[in-house]
C-alpha cells in the first residue's frame, strides 16, 4: 500500500529535548492528525549494577543517523504515518535524564502505537549506540539483552 509521504525528523545530539515543543512542531498548521504516540527513554539509577552515577553514550557519527532514518522509513512504509521524529542523545547523561524520544503522528491510534514500538525495537538492536555505565564500583559497558533481540524479531513474523 502506498502511503502519503511522512515528515521524518532525525536528531542525534548532546543537548536535551523539549517534548511539548516537538509535538507542537508536528501538529502546527494541520488538522489531519488524529493520534500522537511518544516514547521517552530515561537513564535509570540501577541497571546491571546498582548505583549508576552517570552514563556515557558513544555512537558512530554518520552511520547512526543513517540507521535511524532507515528505521523511520521502514515504519512509514509499514503503517500509515503522518510524522515521525526520533531524537537520541549522546555523551554524558545522569540518572533521570531523558535519552531518547520517538514521536509518531497518524490519523488513527493503532498505526502510531505500533510504529512507535517498532522504531524503538529496531533502534535498540540496529542503531549504533553504545552505553557505558559509570557506577561507584567502576565503569561497565552495558551488554545487549536477548529480550531486545526477541522484541525486534516479533516484527519480522507479524504482518
Amino acid at each position: 500500500m502506498e502511503h502519503q509521504a511522512a515528515i521524518i525528523e532525525i536528531a542525534v545530539q548532546q543537548a536535551g529535548f523539549d517534548t511539548a515543543a516537538i509535538q507542537q512542531q508536528i501538529t502546527a498548521n494541520r488538522s489531519d492528525i488524529g493520534a500522537i504516540v511518544s516514547f521517552t527513554g530515561l537513564v535509570r539509577d540501577f541497571n546491571e549494577k546498582p548505583d549508576v552515577l552517570s552514563l556515557t553514550l558513544e555512537h558512530y557519527p554518520g552511520m547512526t543517523e543513517k540507521a535511524l532514518l532507515n528505521i523511520a522509513e521502514s515504519a512509514c512504509q509499514r503503517w500509515s504515518i503522518q510524522a515521525l521524529t526520533i531524537v537520541h542523545r549522546v555523551g554524558c547523561l545522569r540518572p533521570a535524564d531523558p535519552i531518547v524520544l520517538v514521536m509518531v503522528a497518524s490519523a488513527h491510534r493503532q498505526d502510531a502505537f505500533d510504529a512507535c514500538a517498532f522504531v524503538m525495537d529496531y533502534l535498540k538492536t540496529e542503531a549504533p549506540f553504545w552505553k557505558k555505565e559509570n557506577t561507584q564500583h567502576g565503569n561497565y559497558w552495558v551488554s545487549a539483552r536477548a529480550s531486545d533481540q526477541q522484541a525486534r524479531t516479533r516484527w519480522e513474523h507479524s504482518k
Binding site: 552511520m63 535519552i99 533502534l123 535498540k124 553504545w130 545487549a144
Partner: protein, 274 residues
Amino acid sequence: MTDQAQTQHPSGLTHLDAQGNASMVDVTDKAVTFREARAEAYVQMQAHTLAQILNGGHKKGDVLAVARIAGIQAAKKTSDLIPLCHPLLLTKVAVEFYPEPAHNRIRIEALCKLSGQTGVEMEALTAASVTALTLFDMCKAVDKTMVISGIQVLEKKGGRSGHWQHPHTEAVASTSAAYTTAPATDAPANSIQVRFFAQLKEQLGCEQQWIELSQLEAHTLDGVLQHLQQQQPDWQAALAANNLLMSINQNMVKRQARVTAGDEVAFFPPVTGG
C-alpha cells in the same frame, strides 16, 4: 672557483682546508642561483601507533601538524646546528607525510628552496630529521620501539652540480599518496579504512587503521578479520566474538560482504542505545 680548488683538502671534502682544518667554504664570489633540495626520512612504528596518528586521536594532539611545524622551524636553524653550514635565507620550506600502512611507517619528505649561493640539502635533511624526532617525541609514550631510518637527499637542483636526483627517487615517490589533511578524505591508495567502536575499541587499544587490499587473502570482511588477527595475535579473542557486528560504508552487513578500495569498514559490539 680555481681559488677554492687550490685551498681545498686533497680528499675533496669541502669543509677541510689544505691543512685539514675545519673551514667554512668562502662562497662570496659564487653566483646566486635558484636552489632546491628534497630529503626524506622514515619512522617505523607499531600498527596501532600509526592508526592513532592518522586518526588524530593522540593524547598529545595532532601529531603530524606539530611535527611539520617542528621540521620547518628546524630548517631555519640548520646553520646553528651544523658547524660549517652557511646561514641561509630560505624562501620555501615544506614538510609532507606519506603514511605507508603496509609497512607500518610514515615517510617524511622535506623540501627547501632559496635563491642563494649554496645548496639547501642540509636544510632539507635537518627538516626531515627533526620532523622524525618530533614524531618520535609525540608518540614515545605509546610506542618506544619506533625506528627512525632512511634519512637521505632525494633531489637537488641549482648551483654547480645542476640537477641531481637520487637513483631510487622515482620509485620512492610513487609508492604512496601525500597525507595532508583529514584522514577520512585522504585515504592511502588501494586501501580500506577499518574503524572500531565502544568496548572493542578499548580492548584493541585502536580506533582505526588502514589496510592495503593487496594484504588481504580474501576481499571480504572475513578476510579483513583474518588479516587483523594474523597481524595482531593479541586481538584474536576480541575479534573472534561471534556477536561482533560489522558495516561497510555505514551499512550493517554480514561477514561475507566484499570490500573494495576506499571502503570504510567498521567492527563493533552489539548496540545498546535507547
